[in-house]
Symmetry: C2
Subunit: 344 residues, 2 copies
Amino acid sequence: MVIIGMKNVSSLLSTRFNKHKILKTYQEHLSLFLNHLAQTKYGEKPKELYEPIEYMMQLGGKRLRPILCLMGYELFDSKTENALPAALAIEVFHNFTLVHDDIMDNAPLRRGKVTVYQKWNMPVAILVGDLMMIKAVDFIRESPSKQINEMLTVFLATAREVCEGQQLDMNFETQAQVCLDDYIEMITLKTAVLIGASLKIGALAADASIADANHLYEFGKNIGIAFQIQDDLLDCFGNDSNTGKQVGGDIAANKKTLLYIELLSSVHKDDRTLIETLSSEQNMEIKIQETLKLYKKYQIKAFAEHQKQQYLDKAMLHLNSLTVKPEMLEVLRETALGLMERIA
Amino acid sequence: MVIIGMKNVSSLLSTRFNKHKILKTYQEHLSLFLNHLAQTKYGEKPKELYEPIEYMMQLGGKRLRPILCLMGYELFDSKTENALPAALAIEVFHNFTLVHDDIMDNAPLRRGKVTVYQKWNMPVAILVGDLMMIKAVDFIRESPSKQINEMLTVFLATAREVCEGQQLDMNFETQAQVCLDDYIEMITLKTAVLIGASLKIGALAADASIADANHLYEFGKNIGIAFQIQDDLLDCFGNDSNTGKQVGGDIAANKKTLLYIELLSSVHKDDRTLIETLSSEQNMEIKIQETLKLYKKYQIKAFAEHQKQQYLDKAMLHLNSLTVKPEMLEVLRETALGLMERIA
């Protein structure tokens, strides 16, 4: 499968979209959303709470989730503006999780800018996140849709799952052994369900059938899992210019990625000691190179790629079950794959 | 006005209630709620998130807010069980704010037990609070009521205000001067609106008119303000056995209470230096006694009592505007006053 680089997404998509005149281009969706975002008032007083919200919401990013929400809507109705409150709700929710995650991770930077937690302080960041979560529910309820209750149900269930996923991720840090199923469950909850929910909530806002909305959810969720696996792959086998991250960062940090988990469950007895030694190796060059050799020896890359492909295949099955024009499906497929190249 | 001590509340109320056979007694409401609470499942996995929620929800307390919610319902409908999901939502929400406040305040204890933040850790406490907030919205939506949307609107607006109030309170700590209006706004948002909302959401669950629901809200809100002022009074003029707190704790901590704010705005020029000296006085005995002398000199106690009475009067005006049986109003009035003696 060819993954479209982010730099090419907008030019490629605008060509395709303009040719078909079916869905708005990525750029059109993005500017529609950014325009709405710029006009959004979260509140005024106390400014100590609302300024950090403005700051966080203007930090940028691909706006992956809100755009998927708008696309989910547009498959079933052309008045895309109607999906803006829901798209905003999803982006505000996503940013709420980032504000709180940054406290938990003691992170100094987010998208190259100082985190809310560092720019203000911890109590402010906790409250700002709380308020963003509340505002997100408010925004969902502003949607001009007959299916607000269904949208709220999906939104709240997803919000719960994202919290659960974050906790599972934290558990992994101290857990000696993590099995593949647990890992897939974690990335599903922490990231993939919100991708699925973005599309589903958009579809529901456009009064899509529950069946279509569910197929979109499964499409998004499985794409989300596939791209998390790809993230793990890129960290080991990508190159700096592609990912903006140094190769082997996960290995250096002893992160329990899909690759590492599979390695642990595949190795022969005689390589176990080597793995244990490597986990406390201080020379990062050696640590990364030796671990990569083990990945090669046990064909971990092929395993991960196979796993990823399975989730992509599942996603496509659901995509093809949608009762919308085939040309639309093609556009959605390509945009989603392009946008998801790295989950921002 | 005679305030009923907590130890007397249940016996007194059960007599009154049984005589009138109008509303359930405090004890009946409490056991109805506690029974529902004991049966509530918040979720299962990961247990690192759901165990702290169980722990927090079982810490106890007077359950003031959920009981007011049940009473708000019962004024308009006798099937009180229907208000249990909303009552639970409000108690879960209140406890979410406590979990996060305890992190912000670095508090070791809550109701005499170790705080979630201390018993587990900060990341867990942040996530636990987030999840409780989400669950609270879920519980509101479980209400068997025609007015769920109105209930949600009140709930979300109140949630936002409580966050704003907490921020205002934090602002006061570093603010050189706080005026009376700002103080009243802070206690209104931080505490009083949730008291009002508890009653209003209960009434809405019973399909009460918007007018009645709003009168109940104003009744609760004004009672809430009055009792926060009373809290400030008790801290200076109460005695240990009444409040369980040492007299003068607020003075010792340089807390900007209504009394202190009024003192600052009343003092003659020649007492200003004394106040400034006292604020950095290390001997707490002297600090408290000298500040109390100033309170006496400037009749601060009378001022605060007058303020409190004004809010109580406002509350009663709204109570008397309710279109329910006068006997019910009497019971509600006494229970609310009894329960609110100290806002737990």
